[in-house]
Symmetry: C2
Subunit: 282 residues, 2 copies
């Protein structure tokens, strides 16, 4: 009566989600074929068993859990379906409702069930920090795999793609507003009034200076993988008849910050502003 | 030794700024010709003396103070210059650095001095709420007119257009993020997950529900005159080589909220979302 969960792919988030499975009858496996040494280390550190390649993973798994960059989500689903997966496919990626529906269709064509997922918060290590929202017929069963653990799995009342929609809205504010704030500080710097803006913020909006510093640090470290997410959010707004321009601009902000991912120290606001104003030099 | 300040135009902000002049040797005048009864009442309530038409205002004034919607700012400067104004022209409107430079050129061609201004905060009634930033050769002299009053006038070190740049950056966050937040809540509503988003916000970002409610109220009341301001901010970012899409989207948000200006009660989030999602019905 073991439930075997196939994990694609054990990145920082994926490995932490795998480690957060609490059902004693569940085991998590992955396919190391073609993957980096870093990923192998992370997977074995999280106690995730290696079954070989993707075909082996599909054969072994009752549940497939896809946690990957948003631009890769649809392709991963195609590959899994092409290998004949007929279990329950959980896509927990930051994709638009339309992308989620398209993944649902791919998965259904292959004969599998689909659960739409969306993760809010960082890699779950202690309770209360992170929610895995789930939507679809099997949402409650998938949520039960994480019961009473560090990852709070929430089955939504709405069907597919409620979890993706919720993720788009949530991240649309957090990451969209961070990109806006950095752009605003960069505008002030370009016009020679950054110190004046910081002085005004100190008086009337005292959290903004620190918030823009933190936006620089996280944008420097993770902006490269938020570009695709901003594209998905822009598409979500467009599809709802709302202006997508906020997140097209945010995608451009994170694109310009992408070269900073390899920085050995934290990205400061000054450095982020430099990258935003002079992208050609990075 | 009286300094006569000509005010264009006594809107809510203009009248409050006029009332905040503290220099005992200064008097504030305006031109009522062609203006509405509401504006006349507001001007007389603020103790602003009526001198007749624009030609009379130009003749009477040592300082001209332009406080009007941003899309009208350049035209007002043209008209004042065409009437031969040779005093000190203060443009305190929410315009881009490029627009401010262009107004400077207009004013200079007419033989007047130029001071670039930008107002941060609401109509000044008590000290500490509102700053009038000023930039240019005569900034300190203009600031002195408001000394120790309810409006804090700050002469910036940078020359023209530092005050406009600061205003664009400041409002680029406050009004840009408010428009983003409303769009995000509208996206959640369109996808049937608004209650889920509000529940997640309650847990992890507890100020956002109230903030989006307040964004609806102020956007409903004043969004119609923020459209031009968002256009100016988008142009400011574009001119600095930064993505202007945030504020092109924000302009569209406030354009869709514009019909709500005539609502007799405050705009709720639900009503703002309705206007954002179904602009054709308003």
């Amino acid at each position: 009566m073991t439930t075997t969960i196939g994990l694609i792919a054990p990145g920082e988030m994926g490995a932490a989600v795998a480690a957060a499975v609490t059902d004693p009858r569940a085991r998590v496996v992955w396919a190391s074929h073609g993957r980096s040494d870093d990923t192998r280390r992370r997977a074995s550190g999280a106690g995730i068993e290696d079954v070989g390649d993707l075909a082996d993973l599909v054969t072994a798994s009752d549940v497939m859990l896809s946690i990957c960059p948003p631009h890769a989500a649809a392709e991963v689903a195609e590959e899994v379906a092409a290998h004949g997966f007929r279990g329950c496919y959980v896509d927990a990626n930051a994709v638009s409702p339309d992308t989620a529906r398209s993944i649902d269709a791919t998965v259904a064509r292959g004969g599998a069930a689909y659960v739409d997922g969306g993760i809010v918060g960082g890699p779950p290590r202690q309770p209360g920090t992170t929610r895995l929202y789930l939507a679809g017929d099997d949402a409650i069963g998938i949520a039960a795999l994480f019961a009473d653990g560090p990852l709070e799995a929430v089955a939504l009342d709405g069907g597919v793609p409620a979890a993706s929609a919720l993720k788009m809205a949530y991240a649309g504010w957090t990451k969209g507003s961070a990109a806006l704030l950095l752009s605003i500080r960069a505008l002030a710097a370009a016009e020679g009034v950054e110190a004046d803006l910081l002085a005004e913020w100190t008086r009337s909006l005292p959290d903004l200076a620190g918030r823009s510093d933190r936006a620089a640090t996280s944008g420097g470290r993770k902006g490269w993988r938020w570009v695709g997410e901003m594209d998905e959010i822009a598409a979500s707004l467009d599809a709802a008849g709302l202006p997508g321009g906020f997140h097209e601009a945010a995608a451009e902000v994170y694109r310009r910050l992408s070269p900073l991912r390899d920085a050995t120290d934290d990205t400061t606001a000054t450095r982020a502003i430099e990258a935003l104003l002079h992208p050609e030099e990075h």
